[in-house]
């Protein structure tokens, strides 16, 4: 994780709304975009694609996470529930389409739960709310929070699969698919900008915190 006070001049940290449970003051997982490229927290940066600005690159990285999550969910037929209110959750819902459409009166448990908050309590809830033999996709950032899980009752006996959706930023940022470009175009308006240390308020799916 990274503290925004550690951001260099010219660097901007981008964080999904769910990654900031305590606001922007403390350490948080984040995508950092600067002169060297784009990187996850303290990992090595990869070059930005030429046509993309920092926010678009960050959005593309988060889209890659959402893509991994949707790819995992595709293995299971049935309803998909997406937990979270940040950009990753938004993108997953969009990519999953009909399968993740909000049904005000859902029948039965979902076959897949994509968990984007990273909150340990929410992860436990995801395992308990998914159908037997269901799939839980972990697409949230734990942000240093501990998860204690009763594997027997919450995973083992019910035959669940729990899949980690990785952050696929290996070597380069993958180019968006054509149908994903419109999704990227939507992300800018829902990006809220914060100063370092400024608490996160309502309204953003994801946040940009500029370095000092």
């Amino acid at each position: 994780m990274i503290r925004t006070s550690e951001l260099g001049s010219g660097e901007t940290a981008y964080a999904d709304a769910e990654w900031m449970p305590e606001g922007a003051g403390g350490p948080l997982p984040a995508l950092v975009v600067g002169a060297g490229g784009i990187r996850w927290c303290n990992e090595a940066p990869v070059p930005l694609p030429e046509r993309l600005d920092a926010a678009a690159a960050a959005a593309l990285a988060l889209l890659a996470v959402a893509r991994e999550a949707v790819g995992a969910a595709a293995e299971r037929p049935g309803r998909v529930e997406v937990r979270g209110s940040g950009l990753v959750a938004h993108l997953v819902r969009k990519l999953a389409g009909e399968r993740a459409s909000h049904d005000p009166e859902p029948r039965g448990r979902p076959a897949v739960v994509v968990e984007t908050t990273g909150d340990p309590a929410a992860v436990v809830e995801a395992t308990r709310s998914v159908a037997d033999l269901g799939l839980v996709v972990l697409a949230g950032e734990p942000a240093g929070r501990d998860l204690d899980l009763n594997l027997y009752s919450d995973v083992h006996v019910r035959g669940l699969e729990v899949v980690g959706a990785p952050r696929p930023l290996r070597g380069r940022l993958a180019d968006p698919e054509p149908h994903e470009l419109s999704l990227l175009a939507e992300t800018e308006p829902v990006l809220a900008r914060l100063e370092p240390g400024e608490p996160a308020g309502a309204g953003g799916l994801w946040y940009a915190i500029a370095g000092s």
Binding site: G118, L151, V155, H156, R158, A165
Partner: protein, 743 residues
């Protein structure tokens, strides 16, 4: 629930099922757990196969060590309700087939799931699997565990050549490793906490065996495509994550006992890992969801692999258990994590008890827990009374020296034994000798020397005060007579040693009258101990209580010979210990089979005349680490004379006196394991007559008597150690005193 209520419920349930199916009943035995960690073999009845069912006579049932250990210990996620019948995997032979069942007939070999450990069972036909030729029935009894392991390998979606890491070298882990190898896995690694099971892992084809006791950092380099977690340890998930490579699959095969702390979510995401819950119950969930049964395919393939040798499992059985010893086995399972595989061998029960027809109108056994006087033996006929004089040989002429209190009983014994005769007697008090002579038909000798000189006297029986034992015994030995000494051997250890040495020099036999060895209770106790009912000796306790009247100190209990020698430390050697407890010191030694190493004693003289103790308490440390106690008190008001003698070992407990009964977890002929059982009915025996008869037979055959001089000296040394301990206030070694006395 009491045993009686349980039996009643089972009785009723079996008959209702029998009537509903219009089928007969078969009876057998099953393993049952009841509160307090009890595990025993109890009778069970089942209705024969109805529509869609199969009845089988079980040959082997396999123990699931992890599951059954967790259940036995009441670990998290393994709670059971008592009474409980453990087990779920067995194999045997079909005895009956219900309507609608195809492909099976009586005599067919089958493996069955869902069957508790029992010698007989009726199960749905869909729970049975035909055992192909070439597969051993005991191996096939692993069916349920084989399906569990196979389900794990299946959910891992193993591709040929992929590397597999198995965490845990228990039965399920090793089975999973062998099935993965048979399914074409690449490099396989087994990870465990110690090397104890490395041999089995490598025998099953594991390429590597890693010992991991820490955070699993040594597993990072494995990068396994598949990790099968078979430990059931919730903390093992972190190790599985460490061992898995990017995109790896982690299969939770062991049932985690507790909450997994600090699940490494970051690493799970980072590596893109997939964690799959593979409890065997998911097979039922799959069937409910898809309408298709995967279980049958997994089971049949497992058995096929056993038959064609592509998977071998015989080496996984560490222990094959007699079902009667279930109690002892589960205690061992609870203690030890070294048992990989175990099976109950039901063929060890007598065939007629294994499975038999049960009459519908038979009354239920509502005897409940406790002593059972009339029980059907599980094995051969139990210990029964027999002629204690059988095999008596020779003819021993006895001269009785001393005609006081105890001598009367010795005279009667010499007359009663078939191979001894009371030839003559002597006592300084002529009237006493003449009384014995008249009563028991022998001559009254004019002097002790006259007894020693008679050619028709082969052995001198000394029934005199303790301080006279050694000098008179040495005189008798010098005269060429065998010597029988009333207990104790002497009034002190040095005198006893001198007496024994004198007998050896003279080439005559010396024995000490410890007749309690021939009490039927003691005889039965020894036989049970020698049959293994108690296991390794772990302790003994003796408690002797009586209320000796004031007159005892002047003339014994009979008052025949007036003398106060019993109050003299010099003449008697001591009080209750040497006078009464010496019998039991000898008996405990006989039962224990190990010598006392240390003796720590306290004594008191509460309300008795003279110089001797009337109360003594002794703590005994034995050579094998066992601990015992000896207590005696002759001022216990209102107690006419009672003894409690208890002996126990790791596997059982024996009450020899006063209410003889035995409890054992071992399969001993005639004894039902896991239940208290009386030793009776016991015959009345003239124990002194038996003692003399056996001495006579030993002399005739030229062998050492039952009670040898060494036995006598060991008892004497014990008592001397106790008296020294009382004086010093610290522990004393009987062995060291004996060495000292010989020096």
């Amino acid at each position: 629930m009491s045993d009686a209520r349980r039996q009643a419920r089972w009785w009723l349930k079996a008959r209702l099922q029998s009537l509903a199916k219009r089928k007969g009943l078969v009876a057998g035995w099953t393993i049952l757990w009841t509160p307090g960690g009890r595990s025993e073999l109890v009778p069970v009845e089942v209705a024969e196969a109805g529509r869609g069912e199969v009845t089988l006579e079980v040959h082997h049932s396999v123990v699931s060590p992890g599951t059954e250990r967790a259940q036995y210990l009441g670990l998290p996620n393994a709670r059971i309700e008592y009474p409980y019948r453990p087990g779920y995997s067995a194999a045997g032979v079909v005895t009956a087939v219900g309507a609608g069942v195809t492909g099976l007939r009586p005599g067919d070999r089958v493996a069955a799931i869902g069957l508790s450990h029992a010698s007989v069972g009726t199960v749905p036909a869909e729970s049975t699997f035909a055992v192909p030729e070439g597969a051993d029935l005991r191996d096939a009894a692993l069916i349920r565990l084989g399906i569990i392991a196979a389900q794990g390998v299946r959910l891992a979606r193993l591709r040929p050549g992929e590397s597999v890491c198995v965490l845990g070298a228990g039965l399920v882990g090793l089975l999973a490793q062998r099935l993965a190898t048979a399914a074409g896995a690449g490099k396989t690694t087994v990870v465990a906490r110690s090397r104890a099971k490395e041999g089995k892992a490598r025998a099953g084809g594991s390429d590597e065996f890693v010992v991991s006791e820490g955070d699993g950092s040594e597993l990072e380099q494995l990068g396994a495509a598949v990790v099968i977690e078979a430990t059931g340890d919730p903390g093992a998930l972190a190790l599985a994550v460490a061992a898995a490579g990017p995109g790896g699959r982690i299969v939770l095969l062991g049932s985690p006992r507790g909450t997994a702390p600090r699940v490494p979510l970051e690493r799970i995401r980072e590596k893109g890992l997939r964690i799959v819950g593979a409890h065997v119950g998911t097979l039922g969930l799959e069937r409910a969801a898809t309408g298709q049964s995967v279980e049958r395919g997994l089971g049949e393939e497992f058995l096929r692999r056993l038959a064609d040798g592509s998977v071998s499992v015989a080496d996984l059985f560490d222990v094959v258990v007699d079902p009667r010893e279930a109690g002892a086995f589960y205690r061992e399972l609870a203690r030890s994590r070294e048992i990989v595989g175990a099976a109950f061998d039901w063929l060890r029960l007598e065939p007629e008890y294994r499975v038999e027809r049960a009459p519908l109108l038979r009354r239920p056994d509502l005897s409940g827990r406790g002593v059972e006087f009339r029980m059907r033996p599980l094995g051969a006929a139990g210990v029964v009374g027999e002629d204690p004089f059988a095999g008596a040989t020779g003819r021993l002429g006895i001269g009785l020296l001393g005609c006081g209190d105890i001598a009367v009983r010795n005279a009667a014994a010499a007359v009663a034994a078939p191979n001894t005769s009371l030839v003559a007697c002597f006592d300084p008090v002529t009237a006493l000798a003449e009384d014995v002579a008249a009563t028991y038909g022998c001559e009254s000798a004019p002097a002790a020397e006259a007894l020693f000189e008679r050619k028709d006297v082969d052995a001198i029986f000394l029934s005199v005060p303790h301080h006279l034992h050694a000098p008179l015994a040495m005189e008798a030995a010098a005269a060429g007579k065998h010597v029988i000494v009333e207990k104790p051997p002497a009034n002190d250890l040095r005198s006893a040693v001198e007496m024994a040495a004198a007998a050896e020099r003279a080439g005559v036999r010396l024995t000490i009258c410890f007749p309690h060895r021939y009490d039927p209770r003691s005889v039965h106790a020894v036989r049970l101990i020698e049959a293994g009912a108690l296991g390794e000796f772990a302790g003994a306790s003796v408690s002797f209580l009586s209320d000796k009247p004031a007159s005892y100190w002047l003339g014994g209990f009979s008052g025949r010979a007036v003398s106060d020698w019993r109050t003299s430390r010099e003449k008697a050697g001591g009080g209750v210990l040497i006078m009464n407890l010496s019998h039991y010191v000898d008996l405990v030694r006989r039962f224990a089979g190990v010598e006392a190493e240390t003796v720590t004693a306290l004594a008191g003289q509460v309300d008795s005349p003279g110089e001797v103790e009337d109360t003594v308490s002794i703590a005994v440390g034995y050579g094998n680490g066992a601990v015992g106690s000896v207590f005696g008190c002759t001022t216990a008001r209102g107690i006419p004379g009672t003894t409690e003698l208890h002996v126990w070992g790791r596997e059982g407990y024996l009450v020899v006196e006063s209410d003889p009964r035995v409890y054992t977890t071992r399969a001993v002929a005639g004894v039902r394991p896991g239940r208290w059982q009386a030793l009776g009915p016991l015959p009345k025996t003239n124990i002194r007559a038996v003692f003399l008869s056996r001495f006579a037979s030993a002399l005739d055959r030229g062998v050492e008597p039952d009670v040898s001089p060494a036995d006598g000296l060991a008892v004497q040394a014990f008592m001397e150690a106790a008296y020294r301990s009382i004086e010093r206030g610290s522990a004393v070694s009987p062995r060291e005193l004996l060495v000292e006395a010989y020096a």
